[in-house]
């Protein structure tokens, strides 16, 4: 019979890997599995009632008013995703390119761009809430001081501007992250390849679109995927700046808030339903996992070994 012997190396690996595995199992795998299970039951408060099959899923997707709420939150998430794709990743790419080209002050700006990322989301949220304050906010005061007083408005208080205001805060907060990832990708491009391009064209546009962009594909995969996951899990900023109801009138409601409200209840709407909340969580999870998998495989295909 073969004897199992624990060698020094094997022992080390076991010792290092078992605690995090337990942690992941207890706090990540177990909650996900239980959420799946909860979604198939009827709940009353914390008391589990009957098995109801797909009833909860049917309710959140097809029964009013849940149907409208789900669609509204989902629509807002899509807006957030595309807006941040431009404002956060697009701007991040441009910033990275500027930093990489060592324009004057690059050293200072490299730090300045990344600094907000380090700030706590809570701080950013309250900071921007103050900025957007209709009377004392720096945004409106600035507009008035440069003679654009008629543009001053309650940014977070009206349906037309609330979501976009929060998106802008998010973009400011996190733009340093894609910038950093893109910058790292650009710095991996061998200098002689850039010299070779310069021998053939002086157009920055050609350099960016035909050489730099294809060669930073691995960075793009990372930031696109993370942005997708982040945009559909978005919670902190709208929670603090728009409130749990996604006010005003659901215009800042996103799936994260909606799930939280449904599962754990809310001050203004006393209703609380674990079953519906879990069903929502499962749907969000499946949606994110499926699309992220597609995005990753599609983007991986265009990555090149340098």
């Amino acid at each position: 019979m073969p004897q199992f012997r624990m060698t020094g190396r094997g022992l080390w690996i076991t010792v290092l890997i078992v605690p995090p595995l337990c942690f992941v199992a207890l706090f990540i795998v177990y909650p996900i599995i239980s959420a799946f299970a909860y979604a198939f039951f009827d709940w009353q408060g914390l008391r589990r009632l009957d098995f109801v099959g797909l009833e909860n899923f049917h309710t959140v997707l097809f029964v009013e008013p849940y149907r409208s709420w789900t669609l509204n939150a989902f629509k807002n998430n899509i807006i957030v995703f595309f807006a941040l794709m431009v404002l956060q990743n697009g701007l991040g790419f441009i910033l990275a390119y500027a930093l990489w080209r060592e324009l004057p002050g690059a050293r200072f700006h490299r730090i300045a761009v990344f600094l907000p990322v380090v700030l706590s989301t809570i701080i950013v949220a309250y900071l921007f809430k103050l900025f957007y304050h209709p009377l004392f906010g720096v945004v409106n005061i600035s507009l008035k001081s440069i003679g654009l007083g008629e543009w001053a408005q309650p940014w977070l208080g009206q349906s037309g501007t609330a979501l976009w205001s929060i998106i802008a805060a998010q973009a400011w907060h996190m733009v340093g992250f894609p910038t950093l990832v893109f910058l790292a990708g650009m710095q991996r491009i061998p200098g002689e390849i850039l010299d070779a391009v310069r021998m053939e064209t002086e157009s920055e546009w050609v350099k960016i679109t035909k050489i730099v962009w294809p060669l930073v594909a691995p960075s793009a995969t990372i930031v696109f995927t993370l942005l997708f996951v982040g945009a559909f899990n978005w919670f902190e900023l709208p929670y603090i700046m728009g409130g749990l109801d996604g006010s005003p009138f659901g215009s800042t409601d996103v799936l994260g808030l909606y799930f939280y409200r449904t599962a754990f209840g809310n001050v203004s709407a006393g209703q609380q339903d674990f079953g519906l909340g879990s069903a929502l969580a499962v749907l969000i999870f499946i949606f994110i996992a499926a699309i992220a998998a597609v995005i990753t495989t599609r983007l991986r295909a265009r990555e090149i070994q340098l």
Binding site: P190, E192, I193, D195, A196, V197, R198, M199, E200, T201, E202, S203, V206, K210, I211, P214, L215, A217, I304, Q305, L306
Partner: protein, 353 residues
């Protein structure tokens, strides 16, 4: 047509001057090799000609036009890089087509030029491959092909053989020489390898410490080196420099014999330059410098014997392979008449009668 003039070219990086005023004329269809040790400024000079780095001072004129402020892509110059610098995401065809299209050539002309270059460089079967699927030699040919399709006035090659293994190196060296004969463009080639310089160049520019030491044909450099730097840089094994004193018609080495002096200006100290093929070794004591054999190198067709002379200088001598010396053997070194080079003891410049 390509006529290049470099006039007083200087290059500074911040406060450090790395090129101290380069003056050089390069004619049409010439194959010019910049050679020198690492850090001598040869690659820097090439980058200034390419336009990849700005010229700090002086003037670069190509075909009568001042090029200092012209963008690299508008100079009519193509460059082959040391790492080949192929675009990793494009196949061979696209790598070659990229620059040609940017020149505004129409589709048919681009295709015609690529077909021509591919045929010349034996790349036809590889056109759909990505650079990572190619061997070093094939990548090298693609890099040359990419330069060819632009039909530039001047080709710049920055140590193009240094990433190839030894066997491939001599093969590609011959191909580059053949290519130069076929396309007839002006080529400027940077290397630290004097064999490449000697075999390829019409004109060699020997550089050291940001200055040109000598410009000339391979034969001129080998036969009449302008100073001790060029003398010891060109030729392998290198020329031995012996400190001697000129008295009467003899050149005497400190505590170790003397040889006959050729026609030389004035008496005094000087450096005697001896190539391995310009000396003979004698086992019996005879007229010449005394020394002891330190070690020998057997190469098949001939052998090199390294002799520690009585004044401490290590001298290399070529002998026939059958004439092998044993270490520590006492020998006398005599000089073949007419084979000696004389250099000033103060500044190392060539002394001519």
């Amino acid at each position: 047509m390509a006529q290049l003039s470099l006039r007083g070219i200087k290059k500074r990086f911040r406060d450090t001057e790395v090129l101290h005023g380069i003056d050089l004329e390069i004619g049409d269809r010439e194959f010019v090799v910049f050679v020198g040790p690492s850090g001598c400024g040869k690659s820097t000079l090439l980058r200034l000609i390419a336009g990849l780095d700005p010229i700090s001072d002086g003037e670069f004129v190509l075909n009568g036009h001042r090029m200092n402020d012209v963008a690299p892509s508008r100079r009519g110059i193509a460059m082959v890089f040391q790492s080949y610098a192929l675009y990793p995401h494009m196949d061979v065809y696209e790598n070659m087509a990229f620059g040609a299209r940017l020149m505004g050539l129409d589709k048919a002309e681009v295709e015609r030029r690529i077909a021509e270059a591919a045929q010349m460089l034996r790349l036809e079967a590889l056109l759909k491959r990505k650079p990572r699927e190619l061997s070093g030699g094939q990548r090298q040919r693609v890099a040359i092909g990419r330069a060819l399709v632009r039909k530039p006035d001047v080709f710049l090659l920055d140590e193009p053989l240094s990433n190839l293994d030894a066997a491939l190196r001599s093969e590609v060296r011959l191909e580059i020489a053949k290519l130069h004969r076929e396309i007839g463009g002006t080529m400027i080639y940077v290397t630290h390898d004097q064999v490449e310089a000697m075999t390829l160049a019409d004109k060699i520019v020997v550089m050291n410490n940001g200055r040109i030491e000598q410009v000339g044909s391979p034969r001129e450099l080998y036969e009449t080196p302008a100073n001790t730097f060029v003398a010891t840089f060109i030729g392998s094994p290198r020329m031995t420099l012996v400190d001697v004193t000129h008295e009467g018609d003899r050149l005497a080495m400190a505590n170790g014999g003397s040889v006959a002096a050729g026609t030389l200006p004035g008496p005094g100290a000087l450096k005697l330059g001896l190539r391995p093929d310009g000396v003979q070794l004698h086992r019996s004591a005879s007229e010449g410098f005394a020394g002891r054999v330190e070690y020998t190198e057997y190469l098949g067709d001939n052998a090199y014997v390294y002799v520690r002379l009585a004044n401490g200088t290590l001298l290399s001598a070529r002998t026939t392979p059958n004439d092998l010396y044993t270490p520590d053997e006492a020998v006398t070194v005599s000089v073949t008449p007419g084979a000696a080079h004389y250099f000033s003891a103060e500044d190392g410049r060539r002394l001519d009668p």
